[in-house]
Homo-oligomer: 196 residues x 4
DNA sequence: GATGAATGAGCTTTCATTCAT
DNA sequence: CATGAATGAAAGCTCATTCAT
């Protein structure tokens, strides 16, 4: 038989990231993804049920990866909460920094995916968030962070900051150093803008 | 082409906000907007060239309104930079708080609109941003804000925070008090999370 | 506005009869029906939900017509059962004789339609059959027909005869006189082939 | 092209009968047939040129079998025409009674097969019919059947009765005894419904 | 020969947009 | 101006068939 040539599933996902990033999920055509992956349009349906499952798989991959990175950090007793928090930011930024297009897709499409397919959206997103919250809570308890922190709000704000930062970087109009920004972000989150 | 004045254009825009918020721009149907506005689908094309011009008009209205509110504040010599900054946040939050759907549309669709129609996207967005930047710069000069603030980064981060906050509020899963959050946001931006 | 030109619904049904007759329901293309009807393919969907609803509408029209013709006959007290039975055959044959294609569609597609969409198939078919059965029962009671007739079987057999006759006529290979055949059919049903 | 001999070809045909019966020819998937036969989809094409040849082969098998059963009966000088006629009915009913699915396929698909592939449709169908006609003609000549029988019409009617009977039995809604019906059918064909 | 991954033509259906009335 | 019937391009998806292994 004609055996599988290369890893088509991965090729499709890679192609999809590019096409989704360029056109947005809705405007993206299955044919474009197939072309980009170098396969026939019909072949996509051997690997994914439909267009929606492709992007859901993408998000599953990303958040699973992120969760698997943050999870051991969260549980590490040798680290201070402050250090863990820094690593949280590092992990997110570094994972997305690998691929501008991936960053774009996640930043631009996540919101409506959660709205449209709440049942099917990857559970790793919420798991990752819980880990992040646990780190902040630990910081509060260990008196490294302010005691009046509202965890729900903090989550919203930091998520927003990271998204915004990644979007700006990924669009790439302004040549910004994402690594430098990462450090500034940490500092900003911790200290704010007030003169002290 | 926004040729006609009067309440029909407004009715269309109001309907569009609702439909875009519920379905997202791409999935939104012109027929749904027409139904919601109580007019015939074909009539929309007397007021707007096409679907894209409707949403661009929406964004123009919103950012024009915001710019017209922040502009006098920025120029007001009787206010401290810190007070101006608070008003900046107030203005943004308050304008969107009037209409959950408007908040959703702006938060969800702005990014791809700028990507897809960079030339046609409202100039008021950038004007508003410049005003915001001027306020922060003034605060730095007047030594109310830290001197090492990176204005570009700050803009990105604050924008992200506001978007994230509005999105969470507008989705409305968690019953949050947007007014309380507004104050927390100001505090967070200014002081960060570190214990002092 | 552009008002309805002609009766498009009827044009679609007429076109559909032709296309379904020529290609069979499954192989029939919506575009062929639209072409035949002289309209755009998309227009069909203003009148029918989908392909399946077109053919279901066809069957509804046909069996409604047939039921409305047989119903008064069944209830007519001035007629003998024998005469009613003759009219039953006349009605069926005459309705289908108007349009070879209609005959073909009904004969060829009814069976799988009932299988595939039992809930949506026209109730008039069953109503018509009940009327037919009532006529035969009356004939038995009034001792015009044999007392050992099995009504369920008779229904099956007569239906089969009529279908087969119509099919042969509609295909039109053999130039047969449907009117002559109709009389022979009545005689055959009543007397069989045995020499007496 | 039926190139290969042996049980794989048979397995495909057996599987095809089931799948065609359940879904109808058009909706039947080659993959389903392959699955049912326990082979790979591609393998089917070693035994049959395409989907159409499978069903044509099926019909060839069936009508060949039927022809080979009726042929000696027809020529048997020791039997009366009446007895031969009974055996004709017995043969048809009994062959199909072995397999509900086979009955369904023949009843539902024959008509469009003859329409779509008149050149390729099995010649045994026509041969079988000729034998049947010969029997009836003999009955007429030997004065067992009525002299005014129209042989073409009779063929049409009896074929229709048998098809209808088999369809009803094969669908299996009503639990009917096909053997009992067979006898009733013979009687009906011979005597009709009139009271004598 | 057997496999099943790969193909891609071709289908139904949607919906932004047009335009006759 | 307003209407909504009509359009038709465009897209997602299916599945009979091919062919490298």
């Amino acid at each position: 038989m004609r055996t599988k040539q290369g890893n088509k599933e991965e090729a499709i996902l890679t192609a999809a990231v590019k096409v989704f990033a360029e056109s947005g999920y809705h405007a993206a055509k299955i044919h474009s993804i197939a072309d980009e992956a170098g396969i026939a349009a019909g072949s996509i349906y051997s690997y994914f049920e439909n267009k929606q499952q492709i992007i859901l798989a993408l998000f599953d991959d990303v958040w699973k990866e992120l969760y698997e990175q943050i999870s051991p950090v969260e549980k590490d007793n040798t680290l201070t909460a402050d250090a863990k928090f820094d690593m949280l930011i590092d992990i997110v930024i570094d994972v997305f920094t690998v691929d501008r297009n991936l960053a774009l897709v996640v930043v631009n499409e996540e919101s409506h995916l959660i709205r449209d397919y709440p049942e099917e959206f990857t559970p790793y997103f919420e798991k990752f968030m819980k880990s992040g919250e646990a780190i902040v809570k630990e910081g509060v308890i260990k008196r490294q962070f302010r005691s009046d922190i509202k965890i729900d709000l903090l989550r919203i704000l930091i998520l927003g900051q990271i998204r915004s930062l990644l979007l700006t970087w990924a669009i790439g109009d302004k040549k910004i150093s994402i690594q430098a920004m990462k450090e500034d972000l940490k500092k900003f989150i911790k200290c704010g803008i007030n003169r002290v």
